[in-house]
Amino acid sequence: MKFGKRLKQQMDQSLGDWRDKFLSYKELKKMVNLISSKGALEYDAQFLNLLDHEIDKFNAFFIEQEEDFIIRHKELQERISQVIHKWGPQPSHMEYKEEMTNIRKQIVNFHGEMVLLINYSNINYTGLGKIVKKYEKRTGGVLRVHFIERVWEQPFFTTDLISKLVKDCETTIETVLPPSTATGIFHEEEAAKAIFRNSVAALLSMQEMRRGSSTYSQFSLPPLNLPDFELIQSLQLISPIQIHHV
């Protein structure tokens, strides 16, 4: 499947206010097609402008989200320590259980949102790479390598902090989850569903994007082999049925 389609799919499945923050891949592609091989320079400048504008967009959104995550992360930690401090000695207390359930949900959702932000970063980066590759093909310029290097320096690409917070969540959830039992069904919470759905879609689309295509080259990523591909795919089928509204 083409990248543009996959991107759109992800955008559709994404959390509401994220939708217009993704790469305007279609628009950029149109521009590239307008550019003749000699380089009609008005389009060139326009194209480059738009690229810059897109990157600005990513950076702004990313930094906002990151700030929010930092705040939430701290708050979560605070809350956990408060709850444990208050009711730790009697974990069977009703309120403790309630609180903990809430906290667990929050952690998992929080984790999910952060991972989706990383996904956001990655998919935009991939899109940028593709579009600049197309551009280079048309104009024969030597834009791409250096452009990509510039992108590496951008805030939206430097996801290390978010990754760290994600890993933090993963360890935290282990400490607050009770030991696991057998099967389960999906819970009702809307936000969780949205995140979940988006994660599944993201995983699958990653796999799709990395399948062999006509333009497979030495620069392409190798195919992604998800071991429980079947399971994940079935998750994608099931979840829409459970959801009452988007």
Partner: protein, 469 residues
């Protein structure tokens, strides 16, 4: 290097150049770099020009060879203006150059962090707009013009607000010769390229000399057209241990156009400081941005940053507090609730686990994908370099090396893919079955255009084929 042929730039005779015209045209050519020499800014318009002349003089062989049409221009200007001011200011030029070079780490940092190209709307000074449009017209002439242009515009963005003042002071001097410049804009472009070369992070004099002699438009990759906007602070790839970073560069071109508003990237450490300050002031409701700002004592932090952050902080605290209260107020009817609770509790927990697993998987894959993408780029560059080297040493060697290089790349990718699979299977819950993976493998289309099929190569353990040099 004295040539006396009449330049298209100067309609009048050479002698007139050595008067105001020379300085004006030079100032037209070099308005930007003079902003870089910040400490000389206050009143040294002349020495700046001269120091730049000197830079030009150091480079004439390189640039002249690549731009033969301008060689005359170089020589001419120098000869005419050499009598004008060079001798007088030679010593000061020396000093300034030294200052400049010692300054360059700082400058290059800010320039690397502050590169932005927003041609139509973010440019404040008229100069830039007028030269921008003229540059567009000229771009068809020389390919490297396109390289030069954005970086020419970069500099005002990447330097401090002082630069705008400089434009103001020079604007009269700038506009006049600008109109006179017919083909003269080329001279401007060329000069700009020198200047931007000089000030770019990778100021690579020898590189320029080498590349210029080959007359390639490529050498200065740092001046590609899409020098990407980076108004935000320059963040290193590792998580910064310093408390937050603030853009020292151009405030002018922020997309929100709020005066003095620079984008701030918060870190956990900085946030800690923030929270401490807020708590000292009596909590999020009572603390004021001003008070917090004062307490935090973080350089470069503005009240706007604190204000917006405080707002976010309050929102974040308010929401969980309300949910907490409402859950506490629920009167627990113990028996019914507990049995129901147990069932749904387990289900909920299991659902959470599942969600968590999917998310973890996604995160893992994202990391792997990102690493792969980076490695592929690196490898690509390396191959390109090898390719070029081989080109020089003959075609036979070329064939041998590039095919082995390609094999090496495939090995690298395959070994990474093996890595990826191993990593995934390690993190795998007990659900995974061998059948699933086999089926998944079969579902993969064999990538086209790749001579050797990856699935078979996947069985190989990590192997890096050393490239023949």
């Amino acid at each position: 290097m004295e040539t006396k042929h009449a330049l298209p730039i100067q309609r009048s005779g050479p002698r007139q150049i050595s008067s105001v015209g020379a300085s004006a045209s030079l100032s037209a050519a070099f308005p930007i770099p003079s902003t870089v020499l910040e400490e000389t800014y206050p009143s040294f318009s002349e020495p700046q020009q001269v120091s730049l002349e000197r830079e030009l003089m150091q480079r004439p062989p390189a640039v002249v060879s690549s731009l033969s049409s301008h060689s005359g221009a170089v020589g001419h200007i120098f000869s005419s203006s050499s009598g004008f001011s060079t001798d007088l200011h030679f010593s000061s030029v020396q000093q300034q150059l030294e200052k400049h070079t010692t300054q360059s780490p700082f400058i290059s940092q800010s320039s690397s962090s502050g590169k932005s190209v927003k041609l139509p709307h973010s440019v404040d000074s008229q100069l830039l707009q007028s030269t921008a449009s003229s540059h567009f017209n000229r771009e068809s002439n020389e390919s490297w013009c396109t390289d030069t242009l954005p970086d020419f515009l970069d500099f005002p963005m990447s330097t401090t607000i002082q630069s705008s003042q400089l434009y103001g002071s020079n604007s009269s001097g700038i506009t006049i010769p600008h109109e006179d410049l017919g083909k003269g804009n080329d001279w401007q472009d060329w000069a700009d390229q020198l200047i931007t070369d000089n000030d770019a992070l990778t100021a690579d004099w020898s590189g320029l000399l080498a590349d210029a002699s080959v007359a390639e438009p490529e050498p200065k990759h740092s001046q590609q057209c899409t020098s990407v906007s980076n108004q935000q602070p320059h963040i290193p790839q590792q998580v910064p241990s310093t408390p937050g970073e603030i853009c020292t560069g151009g405030a002018q071109s922020s997309s929100n156009a709020a005066p003095g508003k620079q984008r701030m990237r918060w870190t956990p450490e900085l946030h800690e400081t923030f929270v401490e300050a807020v708590n000292k002031l009596g909590g999020s409701e009572r603390a004021t941005p001003k008070g917090v700002l004062k307490l935090m004592k973080v350089e470069g932090l503005t009240i706007y940053h604190v204000k917006s952050h405080l707002q976010k902080y309050r929102t974040a605290r308010y929401k969980p507090e309300t949910t907490e209260e409402s859950s506490e107020r629920k009167p627990p009817s113990i028996e019914d609730f507990s049995s129901l609770d147990l069932k749904t509790g387990i289900e909920i927990t299991e659902a959470l686990r599942l969600q968590m697993e999917v998310q973890k998987r996604l995160h893992e894959q994202l990391e792997i994908q990102r690493n792969l993408q980076l490695r592929i780029e690196e490898q690509g560059k390396y191959l390109q370099m090898m390719f070029e080297k081989q080109c020089k040493s003959g075609t036979d060697l070329l064939k041998g090396a590039s095919s082995s290089s390609e094999n090496a790349l495939k090995e690298l990718k395959d070994s990474s893919a093996v890595e990826a699979e191993n990593k995934v299977s390690e993190g795998e819950p007990a659900k995974r079955s061998v059948e699933t993976s086999q089926m998944a493998g079969e579902k993969q289309k064999a990538p086209e255009g790749v001579p050797s099929s990856p699935p078979t190569k996947r069985k190989k353990v990590d192997e890096e084929v050393p490239l023949s040099s």
